[in-house]
Amino acid sequence: MKTLRLLLTFYKSFAAFSLLLTMISLFIIYESGNDGIYTLKILIWFKLFTIGLIYYFINSYKKNEYYLNLNLGISKAKLWIPILIFDFSIFILSAITLAAKLHETHVGG
């Protein structure tokens, strides 16, 4: 429970920005309509690039806060891996679902 709380606290420091990027990506897919499925490929790279930027930003400007987690038994890897998997999963699942629905709608119509 404590681990989950610490992960959540850390994720909250950039969750709003990351989720905003996901929403923008979904909007781009929606606007692409039938081509959304093809746009997805580019957006996956865009998302991975922004994840890299977030990682760089946190390591540059919030690295002090790692010590809280280290003192409570959570290494950087234990901190980042579940958060990035969770964050990327939200993006990829929602993006694929939306792109597939749009594709079906256009093929069906």
Partner: protein, 217 residues
Amino acid sequence: MKHTLEVDSIILEFGIKRVLQDVYIKSETGKITGILGRNGTGKTCLLNIIYGELATNEKSVRLDGDAIITKSRNPKIFKYLPQYNFIPKKLTVKRIFNDFELDFKEFTKHFPEFEKYFKVKLFNLSGGERRIIEVYSILASHAKFCILDEPFSHIMPVNIETLKIIIENEKNRKGIPITDHLFEHVTEICDYLYVITNGKTFLVNDLNDIKALGYTN
């Protein structure tokens, strides 16, 4: 049970500059180990090497005679207070005491003025008050060794005296390596005192030794 932490054989270089090269530090349960040195002599680097957060090609960190070869440190064995604020300001005092499994009532016996802060977020506290929470959370939590990097910074004299009492109490159940430029406080409480000069550690006995090594006038 008594535990011993020993560090030696460290070589730390940044480019062509060799920062640490001939180091020996010993810390043990029941003892406070002071580390002094001029700015840039590698005190914080040394503490980070002990804590595993700074990688070096050459080092030997031993706990009870056994080499610690992993990078990660077990929080039940090591706690580390960095020289800067490390707890996010948005956390409440209550949350911090819960996470570190500390008794707030015990804390307020030392700092009664903090009683009103239990449910308050750190950003509502002054810099000194925030630092006291951080120092206490490391110092009082369970560990065999608490490494303290500048615990007295930003703290007013009356509270430094209280912290020194807490450090003296806590040393009964842990080893405490400590560094701070408020060296009078460090020299007053420490059992062993090392000065780092030219990358080397010197075990010193009194203020004359410290002066001779160029740390004070």
